[in-house]
Amino acid sequence: MKELFPRKQVMGFIFSLVLTVAALLVYFLDLSFALGMTVLLVTAFLQAGLQLVVFMHAGESEDKATIYTNVYYGLIIALVTIFGTLLAMIWGMV
């Protein structure tokens, strides 16, 4: 019985609900902009990681290395794009 119960998935599901509630609270609570954004960003990244690992089984096949390389590559490009854009459009404007 124990082997049949998808413990990891159920835990993952609960955790992902918790993350959703946490993110939703930003709307209902009166947080400062910085704090609200921080909560949103942290929960968003955790949520995305959770989905990839627990529900999309990123690390469970022989293609593990390829999949993670792809994810990290995508992450780097996304961060470069976002911070580069902020740099060019806002911080660096004179």
Binding site: T66, Y73, I77, T85, M89, W91, V94
Partner: protein
């Protein structure tokens, strides 16, 4: 009547009415021809529903060549208008529409399908596979691109073409300054084509990573396959940015949002930013497959293995990362400070280093080679010097302080044509000539081919070198006319002559295809160039299953090993082959996408909703469809192989 007024051209001219008539007549001629020769069934069975990567490749090729001529006509019109000062051949509005559609057609509907054509045809053969990983998706990619191209091309007779430049910067591209539907065509047609490209990206990454023949490790892949892998990685990471930017632009234009407006918290510069976040990687998407082709051609016709395989691979991997780090060099003058510009100047210079490494590797490959000067080799040799000039002027543009002088002048126009034409167009023509015998079973005439190559090379130089000078003298790009006092007349006349020479070169290529189809010998065997890689180990024409027996490989030049080192490619006996079945859904779904796009462009909401439902119906059909493909029996394989002149290996 009021309903139909929206489809009228806002700024008509006799030339446009003539094109309408021409388009109408062509459509009627095609329909009548197909009916008369009873070819509808054939077209549907063999082409419209095919999922075979080779046929899809050939359809991409034909579309790309058609678009090359569409874009070429635009180019000739622009050069004619500018040939003399104060010319009135075109007015400002027409000139705007022509340079806009020229850019989009050439980059998105000519260069992209051309590289995808060659990738489709060659990559599965080069890695010893029977097809791509997702053959049905591949068909969908093609048909989405095809219908998007058609949608874009009807703009000049229905409703008016986009006129805000191929970069379509806001606020000019916003409703306020571009009130007619032209820019809607831009936003929606490119969106649909982009979806197809993104699918191709995923498809080829999976194909190359998962479907290589036994023994072919990553570092034993032929260089063209490597370049295709890197290109598709860049596609997958760059195109989503364009998708989002276009979606935001569409919402601004159709639904009154304010992402890129100047008021209500919008930011017009963000469009330029997002466009180039995609746009710079895009130029590397175009150039890397070309590098791959040159690597194949140069090592085949220098009769030796490619010099510095590892550094070739490393430089492409580095380029794929760096290409995402330089985009701000396209708008150094937009107002960000010296600090930001310096950062992006440095990254821009850095990317020239891996590019330079590749040039040196080719030179070293040639160094001790026994060079055979065939047409593809001639293109490669003409590419190296012209591309180097284009690249070096790129580095000049990359110096942000100096770019204040060059930006948006003809100097910039000279730069990018002198990288794109030798880089992409020469490479595609080289690849076309090189792989033509594998595609069609005969070779293109070498003498006419070389004449065309020389004419195109000379034409390119004569057409674009003068722009460096007139650009430094201050001639701005995208100006529809200039006065005699500027002194630009002479240089533009030269450019016009160059464009004429280029045009003759392209006409010669068409003539070559005609001539060779009629007169070339069909008796050329499977490997007419004495080449080195796996695609030449198949029969010509390639049977639908590509390889009767899956090849086994132990280096990046498997066929050469077989020819010279006694390596045995095909071991074992025939097995039943599992093939994907045909499907008409990709075609139908893309046709519905065309209707959907058209409805969105003209804000015909009911039609848009209905066609959107049609698209979902196709998706649902696919999800519940039971399709197990079909099998080719050993007996059939034996028959085919015997007909093709006996089993190989």
């Amino acid at each position: 009547m009021e309903f139909f007024e929206r489809f009228a051209i806002p700024h008509p001219s006799p030339a446009i009415y003539a094109s309408m008539v021409a388009i109408g007549l062509t459509v009627i001629a095609i329909i009548a021809g197909l009916t008369y020769f009873k070819k509808w069934g054939y077209i549907w069975r063999e082409w419209l529903t095919t999922v075979d990567h080779k046929r899809i490749g050939i359809m991409y090729l034909i579309s790309a060549l058609l678009m090359l001529f569409r874009g070429g006509v635009d180019a000739i019109m622009m050069r004619s208008q500018l040939a003399v000062p104060g010319n009135t051949l075109l007015d400002a509005q027409h000139y705007n529409e022509i340079f806009t559609t020229h850019g989009i057609v050439m980059i998105l509907f000519m260069a992209m399908p051309f590289i995808i054509a060659l990738m489709n045809f060659v990559v599965p053969l080069q890695i010893g596979a029977r097809d791509v990983a997702f053959p049905r998706l591949n068909a969908l990619s093609f048909w989405l691109f095809f219908f998007a191209a058609m949608l874009f091309n009807i703009s000049f007779v229905v409703g008016g073409s986009p006129d805000a430049g191929w970069t379509s910067y806001f606020p000019l591209a916003g409703n306020e300054h571009s009130p007619h539907v032209g820019t809607n065509y831009y936003m929606i047609a490119i969106q649909i084509a982009g979806l197809g490209t993104l699918m191709t990206g995923i498809n080829f990454i999976v194909t190359i990573l998962k479907m290589r023949a036994p023994g072919m490790t990553l570092m034993k892949m032929p260089m063209f396959t490597w370049s295709a892998l890197i290109t598709n990685v860049i596609i997958v990471f760059a195109f989503p940015v364009l998708t989002i930017a276009l979606a935001m632009g569409t919402m601004d234009r159709l639904f009154g949002t304010h992402f890129f407006s100047i008021d209500n918290g919008g930011m017009d510069m963000l469009w330029a930013n997002l466009f180039w976040v995609w746009g710079h990687p895009e130029v590397y998407i175009l150039i890397l497959p070309a590098f791959g082709i040159y690597s194949e051609v140069i090592s085949t016709f220098a009769r030796r293995n490619l010099y510095g395989y590892k550094s070739m691979v490393a430089s492409m991997v580095i380029i794929s990362l760096f290409s995402f780090l330089v985009w701000v060099h396209h708008f150094f003058t937009m107002g960000q400070g010296a600090f930001v510009n310096s950062i992006f100047s440095v990254t821009t210079m850095a990317i020239a280093v891996p590019t330079g490494i590749k040039i040196f590797n080719w030179l070293f490959t040639l160094w001790k080679g026994k060079i055979v000067m065939t047409t593809p080799m001639l293109y490669s040799m003409l590419f190296i010097p012209i591309f180097t000039i284009g690249g070096v002027t790129g580095v000049m543009l990359g110096m942000s302080a100096a770019d204040y002088q060059y930006h948006n002048t003809m100097f910039l126009v000279a730069h990018f044509h002198l990288v794109i034409i030798p880089g992409v167009v020469f490479a595609m023509l080289a690849g076309l000539t090189y792989w033509w015998p594998k595609m069609f079973g005969f070779m293109l005439n070498e003498r006419i081919g070389k004449w065309a190559a020389w004419l195109i090379a000379v034409g390119t130089c004569v057409a674009f070198f003068p722009m460096f000078i007139s650009g430094l003298d201050g001639q701005a790009r995208r100006m529809y006319t200039y006065s005699e006092a500027t002194g630009f007349g002479f240089w533009n006349m030269l450019s016009f002559i160059g464009a004429g020479i280029l045009a003759i070169g392209f006409v010669l290529i068409v003539y070559n295809i005609y001539y060779s189809t009629r007169y070339a010998t069909r008796d050329i065997g499977a490997d007419p160039w004495d080449a080195r890689t796996l695609e030449w180990a198949t029969h010509s024409p390639v049977p639908e299953y590509n390889f009767a027996i899956t090849p086994e490989v132990n280096s990046s030049e498997a066929l050469w090993d077989e020819k010279k080192k006694g390596h045995k490619l095909f071991k074992g006996s025939y097995q039943e082959i599992h093939m994907p079945s045909k499907s008409g859904v990709p075609f139908i779904m893309s046709a519905i996408f065309f209707v959907f796009g058209f409805a969105m462009i003209f804000s015909l909401w009911i039609l848009a909703i209905v066609s959107l439902l049609g698209i979902f119906a196709c998706l649902i059909h696919r999800s519940f469809e039971q399709d197990h493909g079909y099998h080719i029996s050993v007996k059939e394989i034996e028959e085919t192989e015997a007909k093709m002149g006996g089993a190989k290996g």
